[in-house]
């Protein structure tokens, strides 16, 4: 077990180095003079300013030295300063990260939480028409554009209950109820594809394990149907479920960026789009690096959890 954890830690380190190198190279991939492009977004481009910004960003140093400095600073929590405000990007991110994190967590909770009972219910319905309807339903759930669903919800709300003001964002500690109410609709939009995906996964994993010998044994020794289903079949069905959770988090973080725009939530999505339109690459790099690193670490944790749940993988 310890050896596996160590091996996975080495993998994790490698992937993190790779990600940071790729994100670091972002500015260098920009076709043309990146510094002039960045400056051009906000001021007149003069040779002096180009040279000053180049020195400020350390672009006049050898590439490996640049990466070393950048990565070292990043490890110490310094991801640079925002190009235009001069504020540390970590502070900018701290201002915008909570709505996105809260939205992601709420959507994950809704989607994953509902998918287990939904999957169990779906497993009981088997055969011809029910199968086809479930399949059509889950494919529809997966392919409904979440941002469109958001727009439809806003439209429905504006028509049915125009007095309700549910756009925007208020911090949880200022107004807990208003906070939840405002994030509920976007969370539902994001949760729907997850619910469709996971409930179907629970259903097929459940049906597969119901065909196993140990289920027959459980029935043969006289266990009630509920106990067979929940204690024996579902426990094994949870393994692919947990693996999917990590992947879902990545989908959610991306989806949140888009859905935030629909509901006017000032989260990471707004920060990223603002950074792109202002060509504020240091800020953009920092957001991508932080979010991706967070996503990788979550997946790493899920992988370990997976081994704890499934004793067969401990060896």
């Amino acid at each position: 077990m310890i050896r596996i954890v160590l091996a996975r830690l080495v993998d994790l380190g490698f992937v993190l180095i790779g990600i940071s190198a790729l994100v670091f190279c972002m500015i260098r991939f920009i076709p043309g003079d990146a510094v002039a492009i960045m400056l051009g977004a906000n001021t007149e481009v003069t040779p002096d300013r180009v040279a000053a910004l180049r020195t400020h960003l350390g672009l006049d140093q050898p590439l490996l030295v640049q990466y070393g400095r950048w990565a070292w600073a990043a490890l110490h929590g310094d991801l640079g300063t925002s190009l235009w405000t001069g504020r540390p990007v970590v502070a900018e991110i701290a201002l915008h990260i909570w709505p996105t994190v809260q939205l992601t967590v709420m959507a994950l909770g809704l989607g994953a939480g509902l998918s287990v009972p939904a999957g169990c219910m779906m497993a009981r319905l088997r055969g011809g028409t029910a199968d086809t309807l479930l399949r059509l339903g889950s494919v529809a759930g997966l392919t409904i554009p979440s941002f469109w669903l958001g727009i439809v919800m806003i439209l429905a709300l504006a028509t049915l209950a125009p007095s309700l003001q549910l756009l925007g964002y208020v911090p949880f500690f200022d107004d807990p109820l208003g906070n939840i109410a405002r994030l509920l609709l976007p969370a539902i939009c994001l949760a729907l594809p997850i619910l469709a995906n996971l409930s179907r996964l629970v259903r097929s994993a459940l049906l597969e394990s119901l065909g196993q010998d140990y289920i027959r044994t459980a029935r043969a020794k006289g266990l009630g149907e509920a106990r067979v289903l929940y204690r024996h079949a579902l426990a094994n069905a949870m393994i692919p479920f947990v693996t999917s959770l990590g992947i879902m988090t990545g989908y959610l973080l991306g989806g949140a960026i888009v859905v935030e725009q629909v509901f006017a939530i000032p989260g990471l999505g707004r920060l990223i789009l603002g950074a792109i339109s202002e060509r504020n690459y240091p800020l953009l790099q920092a957001v991508i690096l932080l979010v991706t690193a967070g996503f990788v670490v979550v997946n790493f944790a899920v992988d370990l959890l997976y081994r704890v749940i499934d004793p067969r993988l401990r060896g």
């Binding site: 529809a140 469109w148 806003i154 973080l253 991306g254 960026i257 725009q261 953009l284 996503f295």
Partner: protein, 270 residues
């Protein structure tokens, strides 16, 4: 082989919208960019079946041309990802050793990024537009094909008939193309169909954020973004554009789903 009703339905659900979109030049009643500002923001009526947008452009025509653009970006990006990622996965499985290790490590790194974030990053570097959106989606899907094909390819490369072909003097290229690749066609077909479906959604998201297709070109994501601004005046443009995205993505996803059942009999019971 009996064609199941579901598979047939899925085929039609892809074919009909795709033909309408591809034939937009012949089917669309109006020029998708010609404006008629007097007749703007109308609901559905006899002369404009799906109404008009904020510049008086015909929504139906814009949806048909926008669908064509979506399908083009999806096909281009998934096709490139298949060639590049699938090719790398196949070569990695065949040659093994350090080549495999380096390639798969690189794929792991790309795979570690959340899809939308990587796509947005690529677009931010290359500049917004439908071509860069296609490149971004291709970059995102390359590791998916590489990882997907490497696994089964490893098994096939170990098969006796591959060793036999090698003993008979077949070249590497011949072994890969004639003996290994055909066995992977099922997996490729299913995944291509599913990824085309998500590529449509990612392209629409990018265009919605203003990072994909640029105005005045018709694009479903862009129509949603534009329609959002006039939602309470006239919701038709946004509503129908969303339905079009859903129809395109739904058909392709269902097709991949039905094909997977057909090609993997083990799953059919479930």
């Amino acid at each position: 082989m009996k064609l199941s009703g579901l598979l047939l339905f899925a085929f039609l659900a892809v074919l009909v919208p795709a033909l309408l979109a591809i034939g937009a030049d012949f089917v669309a009643p109006y020029d998708p960019v010609s404006q008629d500002i007097i007749a703007r923001l109308r609901g559905p009526m006899a002369t404009h079946w799906l109404g008009t947008d904020q510049l008086g452009r015909d929504v139906l025509s814009r949806i048909l041309y926008g669908s064509r653009a979506s399908l083009l970006v999806a096909a281009g990006s998934v096709g490139s990802a298949l060639l590049l990622g699938g090719g790398l996965g196949l070569l990695a499985a065949y040659y093994r050793g350090w080549f495999e290790r380096i390639v798969m490590r690189l794929m792991d790194i790309l795979f570690a990024f959340p899809v939308m974030l990587l796509a947005i990053g690529v677009v931010a570097v290359l500049g917004p537009g439908s071509v860069t959106a296609a490149i971004a989606i291709a970059v995102v899907y390359t590791p998916i094909f590489a990882r997907l094909l490497r696994g089964p390819a490893l098994v096939i490369c170990d098969a006796d008939y591959v060793a036999g072909a090698r003993a008979a003097g077949a070249t590497d290229a011949r072994i890969l193309l004639i003996h290994v690749l055909p066995n992977l066609l099922g997996v490729i077909l299913v995944q291509t169909s599913l990824l085309l479906s998500s590529a449509i959604l990612v392209e629409a998201s990018l265009s919605f954020l203003g990072l994909g297709t640029q105005p005045p070109n018709p694009s479903l994501g862009l129509m949603l973004a534009e329609g959002r601004n006039v939602l309470l005046l006239s919701p038709w443009g946004a509503l129908f554009a969303g339905v079009a995205i859903l129809v395109l993505a739904f058909g392709l996803n269902l097709l991949g789903d039905a094909l997977r059942d057909r090609l993997d009999p083990r799953l059919r019971e479930l």
